[in-house]
């Protein structure tokens, strides 16, 4: 459960994961069933291999919050350091894709996160160093999420998200 949700609210992860994956891969498939059987007081995931694992739901909710934090840092850094825009624009686009895909996995989206966006340092090099640190954290956390979830399809999305962060980190290392 996350802050802002009533104790009796139920969230489900069941057909939406397939839909989210189809969006990522460009595949089309039949609409996911919307009746996932939420009956009392929790969320559910959508997945062709339906996962009603509370742990999976909690991992997705945490991952959304973390990816949104990284997205907010990138947009704040873009405002503060205009010259970094060529690097940050594609990163922001990818971050939005990560957030959207993870959000689409949940049938019932979580409330807006209450996490604090890390402040953007005044110096550009320091800001990039901070970004690199956030990327490493995100990479490791998504990998940890991948290893922890029971749903195989969800694990695949999380592993891919982690790999994307690893690539972004590597590309930043190649920046002058």
């Amino acid at each position: 459960m996350t802050a802002g949700e009533g104790p009796s609210r139920r969230v489900v992860l069941t057909g939406a994961l397939a839909v989210a994956l189809a969006g990522v891969t460009g595949c089309t498939r039949d609409p996911a069933p919307t009746d996932t059987g939420p009956s009392a007081d929790r969320r559910t995931l959508a997945d062709p291999e339906p996962s009603r694992d509370d742990g999976d739901v909690a991992r997705v909710v945490q991952a959304i919050a973390a990816e949104e934090t990284l997205l907010r840092y990138c947009t704040a850094m873009e405002r503060r350091h205009r010259s970094s825009r060529p690097v940050l624009r594609p990163l922001i686009t990818r971050q939005r894709a990560h957030v959207t895909t993870l959000r689409d996995i949940l049938i019932d989206n979580p409330a807006e996160p209450t996490t604090v966006t890390p402040p953007v340092p005044t110096g550009q090099r320091a800001a990039i160093r901070e970004l690199e640190g956030l990327l490493v954290t995100a990479r490791d956390e998504r990998l940890g999420d991948c290893l922890a979830v029971s749903s195989g399809l969800l694990a695949r999305v999380l592993a891919s998200t982690s790999a994307s962060h690893a690539c972004t980190f590597a590309s930043l290392q190649g920046q002058p």
């Binding site: 990818r94 999305v157 592993a159 891919s160 982690s162 690893a166 590597a170 590309s171 190649g174």
Partner: protein
């Protein structure tokens, strides 16, 4: 999909990658000797060989016979220039990424960790070869 099937898929992919980097190494020796590209290819070749050997060992531990490499693999286009080499390397890594991403969804615990690590390594190498970073390596074509 069984563990053995997952491992065999990955091993087949690594056989092709090792072959592809062998082709690349020969061509790069001619068109980019002594450059960082040659070093990158040498490192990637070694990493794919190492991964191949790990997968073969895991299959033996699972009482399976590791799938053998084909005598040769067709390259999808002529490898003549440095640009061709980079393109082929990106293709090799992208194909391996797709296989490992699929393997993640069919594995658990230590095996899933191995597959996720391999996915990340392939995606990073693809980036090093000039691929624009993808939002979902192994899943998306963009």
């Amino acid at each position: 999909m069984s563990v053995v099937e997952v491992l065999q898929d990955c091993l087949e992919s690594e056989h092709a990658a090792v072959y592809g980097y062998g082709v690349l190494g020969g061509r790069l020796a001619a068109v980019a000797a002594g450059t960082a590209w040659r070093q990158l290819a040498d490192a990637a070749y070694a990493e794919h060989r190492a991964r191949r050997d790990i997968l073969a060992e895991l299959l033996v531990r699972n009482d399976a016979v590791p799938v053998a490499a084909e005598p040769a693999y067709a390259t999808p286009f002529d490898i003549t220039t440095l640009s061709d080499c980079k393109r082929l390397a990106r293709l090799i890594e992208a194909r391996c990424s797709v296989v490992y991403a699929g393997a993640v969804s069919h594995s658990r615990s230590e095996l899933r960790e191995l597959m996720a690590g391999a996915l990340s390594d392939c995606a990073v190498r693809e980036t090093c070869w000039g691929q624009v970073v993808r939002a979902f390596p192994g899943l998306s074509v963009r």
